[in-house]
Each structure stands twice: as C-alpha cells, then as structure tokens.
Symmetry: C2
Subunit: 128 residues, 2 copies
C-alpha cells in the first residue's frame, strides 16, 4: 500500500527523484547527515522547526528509499543513529546544485524569503 510518493502523476523520472528528496525536511536532514552520523535528538535540535513526528516520518521514508541507514543500539534509554548510505551520497551533487540554483534565484527574486528568516540560521546548509 504505497503512499503517493510512488505514484508519480506524470510517470516521469524526475518525479521519482523528487519523491525521494522532496519532503519538507528531507533536504535539510540530508545536508546534516552528509556531515556525519547523527542521533535522533541531535537532528531534532539541528532542525528545531520540524516536529519530532515529521522527523520520524521523513527519516523512515529516507530509510526505506535506501538513502540513509538506521543503526539501533539495544540500550536504555534508546540510542539510534542515522547515517547516509553510499547510495544516498550519490544525491550530494544534486542537492548542491539545487541549493546553488535556489541561492541564485533568491538574488534575482527579492521577495523570496532567505534562510534564517524564521530564526533558524542552520536551516539547510551553507555554501562553504
């Protein structure tokens, strides 16, 4: 019983990719994971404007899509680490070009809000 993510309207390959990275928080998550493994609470603090529910959902989808790995340590209190997979790393150049284009777009289009307008300077990723 697949969600709509896998019933792309146009049947277009671009949509397949977008169904993988197109979630509201997925790009942010992925950029953070590109820097290294993170625990759940760690991500939650890095992306404070995402509810934990959303974080969970997006991480689950990223996991079933094979772009991240989930390591569960059988401890109490629980410990779960998220890591980007090798396959997930192939998304890196795409994410970067999407980010760069978005930046360029903001320069030409002044009415597009910039990062940090919601008080979250770590919203996505930096150019450096």
């Amino acid at each position: 019983m697949r969600t709509k993510r896998f019933d792309p309207k146009s049947g277009c390959a671009v949509e397949v990719t977008l169904s993988v990275i197109g979630g509201a928080w997925k790009p942010v998550i992925l950029f953070h994971l590109l820097e290294g493994k993170k625990r759940f609470m760690e991500l939650s603090r890095l992306v404070p404007r995402a509810t934990q529910r959303m974080l969970t959902l997006q991480l689950r989808e990223l996991e079933t899509d094979g772009v991240i790995l989930r390591h569960v340590y059988p401890q109490v209190p629980p410990k779960v680490e998220y890591e980007i997979s090798d396959f997930g790393r192939t998304l890196a150049p795409i994410l970067v070009s999407l980010r760069d284009w978005g930046d360029a777009y903001r320069e030409t289009n002044p009415n597009v809000p910039s990062e940090g307008e919601h008080g979250d300077p770590w919203a996505c990723a930096h150019s450096g």
Copy 2:
C-alpha cells in the same frame, strides 16, 4: 499573497528550487519546452493526463517564477505560446540530473513504477 511555495518550511535554498520545479507537472512541461515553443493545446496533448486546469496553474507559476515566457497573440481564436526563458534554461542540467538519478533509482528499486505504465510514453523525457 504568496502561496506556500514561497514559505519554505526549512527556509532552505533547496526548497526554493523545488518550489519552482516541484509541481506535479512542471518537470514534464519544462522538458517539452526545452525542445521548443509550444501552444497551450499542444502541451495539453503532450501531457494528456494533466487536466487543463492543472496545466494552466503550473504554467502560470512557471511564468511568475520567470522560467518560461508567455506570448499572447491578439487573435480569435486565441493563440498563446509558451517558451522557456534564458533563466529557465539554467534549470536544464538540474532537470537532467534529477531524471538520470530517478532512472538509476528505478533500476535498483524494482517496485517503482516506470514511465509508460499509465500509457503515456512521452511522460517526461527520453535519455537520447
């Protein structure tokens, strides 16, 4: 009164780009327009599974985002041509890499529907 497209949750630059190309039919439209100007009905026939309403909406958004140009000929019956702008052309490499990644993803993930499953072989774009 901006739609949500410009209130990206994470404030992330990637989301800005996705708000421009992320519509259900925008990638398909853009691939077709990369091949040349098209009239409205022409597009409607090229993307038959999109309702005309959707086509109109998506074209309007693409226009206000500056990635396509709309030429209205003061005739009756009306004639309107859509053309990709120079700025819109800067999206081409991104669209191509999104498509290629989606194709690769489909190879590794067999339960992802392929193009043409809805009887629309021209759904998005071809590799050649």
